[in-house]
């Protein structure tokens, strides 16, 4: 039982962590919290099942197509819901515009794909047992994403430009960095990461339109606790959340797990609004 708690917990945790990173990537480039993170996770599973199980494409082609769709949806998100309201960011209209867009996509999925959870195809025939791909695939995806992002941010010019925008977009613009293009690139990247999370986690979570709101919340918890914009916080928080949830599920039942996560979330935010590892706030007057 211990092995199954750990393997399942870490796997779910890796999905949460990836969704958390999706929030971060969008936030860093635009100061926008986007409700589309959970949607991307949901789409990763549904589109994967559509391409591979329904249309019979090879797994690798399916994966590439899913990630490409993610990137396109990321771009659409930026164009349709973020750019028009960026000027009045103080009014927080982006909360509503991204929510509206995410809901439209979710309903479209519900109508076209169906409201029943459907199985996701096995990609690699190892297992069953704790070596089963459904457990290590999300963890691998998480590791690859983290390493990839580190390399991108530290080693490449475009990555440093991302960091500059995240640090101080005003100064970065004054230096002549193309903020708009970088923002679009960030949203496309977030689309890829989000759908990757959904794709690799879908054998566990199934291809289900209802995953959207679950991933939206549980993917946000590690970000809120770890501090906005911190990918390290998102990974640590995500894995811890996954383990805690599974342990509680096995030991005391699902109700307690859900309530406990929510209680911890509220209490931490009340005590430290900037997150456990986050920095403090800006000047108001």
């Amino acid at each position: 039982m211990f092995a199954s708690i750990v393997s399942y917990g870490l796997a779910v945790g890796a999905v949460y962590a990836l969704i958390g990173i999706t929030y971060n990537v969008m936030f860093s480039a635009s100061r926008v919290f986007s409700f589309t993170a959970g949607m991307l996770g949901m789409l990763g599973g549904v589109l994967g099942a559509l391409f591979i199980a329904k249309m019979g494409l090879p797994a690798i082609v399916g994966l590439v197509l899913v990630l490409a769709c993610g990137a396109v949806i990321g771009l659409v998100t930026e164009l349709l819901t973020v750019r028009p309201v960026l000027k009045s960011i103080e009014q927080h209209l982006y909360v509503l515009s991204t929510l509206a867009f995410a809901l439209m996509v979710q309903q479209l999925t519900a109508v076209e794909w169906g409201t029943e959870a459907q199985p996701f195809p096995r990609l690699i025939p190892i297992g069953p047992g704790w070596l089963d791909q459904q457990f290590w695939l999300p963890m691998l995806a998480c590791a690859v994403t983290i390493v990839g992002l580190e390399l991108l941010y530290r080693k490449t010019l475009i990555g440093r430009a991302f960091l500059a925008i995240a640090e101080d977009s005003y100064a970065a613009r004054a230096l002549g960095l193309p903020e708009t293009q970088l923002r679009m690139a960030s949203f496309a990247l977030a689309g890829v990461i989000g759908t990757l999370a959904g794709f690799t986690g879908a054998e566990m979570l199934l291809a289900f339109f209802g995953n959207q709101s679950i991933l939206n919340f549980y993917g946000f918890v590690p970000v809120a606790l770890g501090g906005m914009g911190s990918n390290r916080g998102a990974v640590v928080g995500g894995l811890a959340l996954g383990l805690f949830q599974q342990a509680a599920n096995f030991l005391v039942g699902g109700i307690f797990a859900a309530v406990a996560v929510f209680a911890v979330f509220i209490i931490v935010l009340l005590l430290r609004p900037e997150g456990l590892a986050g920095a403090s706030t800006a000047r108001r007057v």
């Binding site: 909360v95 929510l99 509206a100 109508v111 007057v285």
Partner: protein
């Protein structure tokens, strides 16, 4: 005497507007009252659903439309209320309760959880709070599914049946109707009270609300309590209307419906969201083939509203505020009315800073500052950019805690980091960029300044008890008088975001006067004013100080400073470079070389 009486005309115009505003409600009420004459149970059920949704949305409207908190998962209150009422009536967890008592319990549970979910909003805004309500809605549904003994799990549980006089059928219809009318009445009362104005102020200009003494946590907790209770009651009624409830009945889409109804209606309106709720409840009944697309269409509608008309229906209906204002307006303050606004008793205390120090990182913004602002005097604070003028103001206002030293008013040490407590000490201020409550009228903007003088409680305002009405009358009269003093009384009913920049500066002064300040701090009040306006402003400031108020004036216009100040302090690099009478300062060698120029 005739010229010292404040013009009453705008007040009359306001009460006329109130009668005009009541007409749609009377029409809606008549339709609701007479609908049973059709004797069509299908229409009856739709109407009951609209009433029930509105009971929830009326409360949610205060949270979303007035306080500007994005509570997207408020359906959880409906779920909680429904299951509480149903489970208590059925007696699955306790001995069976009487249905009406169970409904009250549903409201109480809604109120409790409304506060719990609302807590994060006290410290965090927007997305975090939106997420909390969303997460809570998800969790409530999960618990309803899992807690089989009480909720029946996925199979569900029967809803309560209310006995006579509100038994199923038209009895229950009138029950819903009465409660919906009650909810409307109470939220309308609250919205037009000082609490409602404070909510809008928190939404549009939180800093100004704080400076006026609005205690945000207490106010928001009260609003969440009320909105949660209405949601819980709506839930109990919903369970009865459905006659059988399962967790599937409380989808997140429903939450979106409530939310969108409010946004379509427009923020800061009650009629708009009510119409929005009715339309969104009724619409799917006429478009049966579109039912599975309804959420998609709601979401698309939300996106369109956000992108195209963020103001909602209420903005489109607000024809009065589209009438052009007079083009060449002149602000003519009437300082002679000041004696009626300020009573001399409130002044008389010295505001003093003793050896105050504050640094930001490695920068010493204030390095050992002593300052004394005496009642009845205008004290100028000047200095080059970055010399610490505004920082000094912010220390006095309580935004920053000094690292050393104290700020006192008379003998009392002012608590650091508590800007919302400054109003209690009768310390008022204006801001470098005017903090206006854009969606509210000029009169409302000024009335905010008198918040701490209100005596009635939140509950008294909900029910318009006498103390609430006295508060309102007094605040309105005082605000009209303050507006007459600064010369804006003709614009009292105009929406504040339509004023010119110079008018906003005078409006802020009127708001500050509402506090009958012992100390008034003005942060660059002359910036952006014409030469004529600066002259009138100067006369007004002097007149205010002669009533016994200590005035601290931060300003860059050297002429104004030397014209009206009794005492001037020059700051440089966070220290006092020179202090004295204007004449002394003007001839001070270092000041001339460092700041004024030869």
């Amino acid at each position: 005497m005739t010229d010292t009486s404040a013009p009453a005309q705008p007040v009359r115009a306001l009460s006329l507007a109130r009668i005009e505003g009541a007409l749609p409600w009377i029409a809606l009420g008549l339709v609701g009252l007479l609908l049973p004459l059709l004797d069509d149970s299908y229409i009856g059920v739709i109407a009951q659903r609209a009433f029930i949704y509105w009971i929830l949305s009326a409360g949610l409207n205060l949270v979303v439309g007035y306080a500007g908190q994005i509570a997207i998962g408020w359906v959880s209150m409906l779920t909680l209320g429904a299951y509480t009422t149903a489970a208590l009536t059925a007696g699955t967890a306790t001995p069976a309760w009487h249905p009406y008592l169970a409904l009250v319990a549903g409201g109480a549970v809604g109120a409790l959880f409304g506060v719990i979910v609302g807590l994060p909003a006290l410290r965090l805004r927007t997305f975090y709070f939106a997420m909390t309500t969303l997460g809570f809605a998800t969790i409530v549904t999960q618990v309803a599914l899992a807690w089989k003994e009480v909720t029946g799990g996925g199979v569900g549980t029967p809803g309560p049946v209310f006995p006579w006089p509100f038994d199923p059928g038209w009895g229950f219809y009138y029950f819903c109707f009465i409660l919906a009318a009650l909810a409307t009445w109470m939220t309308a009362n609250l919205a037009s009270s000082r609490f409602g104005r404070a909510l809008v102020a928190i939404r549009d200009a939180e800093v100004a609300a704080e400076a006026s003494g609005v205690a945000k946590p207490r106010l928001l907790v009260a609003v969440f309590l009320f909105a949660g209770a209405l949601g819980g009651v709506a839930g109990g009624l919903f369970a009865s209307l459905q006659s059988y409830i399962t967790p599937d009945a409380f989808t997140f889409e429903m939450s979106v419906l409530f939310f969108i109804a409010i946004l379509i209606g427009g923020r800061g309106s009650i009629l708009g969201p009510a119409l929005g709720t009715i339309v969104l409840t009724v619409l799917p009944e006429f478009a049966a083939p579109l039912v599975q697309w309804s959420t998609f269409l709601y979401a698309a509608l939300l996106l369109l509203i956000v992108l195209i008309i963020p103001g909602g229906i209420a903005d489109l209906l607000d024809y009065k505020n589209r009438r052009p204002l007079e083009r060449h307006r002149e602000i003519v303050p009437r300082p002679e009315l000041l004696a009626r606004v300020l009573d001399r008793r409130t002044g008389g205390e010295v505001l003093s800073l003793a050896n105050v120090e504050l640094s930001f990182g490695g920068v010493r913004a204030i390095a050992g500052l002593d300052l004394e602002i005496r009642p009845g005097e205008v004290h100028g604070l000047i200095g080059p950019n970055g010399s610490g003028k505004t920082t000094t103001l912010n220390v006095i206002s309580g935004y920053y805690a000094p690292e050393a030293g104290q700020v006192r008013l008379g003998d009392a040490v002012l608590p650091p980091r508590a800007p919302h407590l400054r109003a209690d000490y009768r310390i008022a201020r204006t801001f470098q960029t005017p903090r206006l409550i854009g969606g509210a009228s000029v009169l409302d903007n000024v009335m905010i300044g008198g918040t701490i003088d209100g005596q009635g409680s939140f509950a008294e305002s909900l029910l318009t008890l006498p103390r609430h009405r006295r508060d309102e009358k007094r605040l309105r009269e005082a605000a009209m008088l303050a507006l007459a003093v600064v010369g804006l009384d003709q614009l009292a009913a105009v929406r504040a975001d339509r004023l010119q920049h110079s008018e906003l500066r005078f409006m802020e002064i009127a708001r500050a006067l509402m506090l009958r300040p012992a100390c008034l701090m003005l942060d660059e009040p002359a910036a952006g004013l014409s030469a004529d306006e600066i002259r009138r402003l100067g006369a007004l400031i002097v007149a205010i100080s002669r009533q016994g108020t200590a005035v601290l004036l931060v300003e860059h216009h050297a002429d104004l400073i030397f014209d009206i100040c009794d005492r001037v302090t020059v700051l440089n690099l966070g220290k006092v470079l020179a202090a004295g009478t204007p004449a002394e300062i003007r001839s001070h060698r270092e000041v001339v070389s460092a700041y004024l120029g030869a």
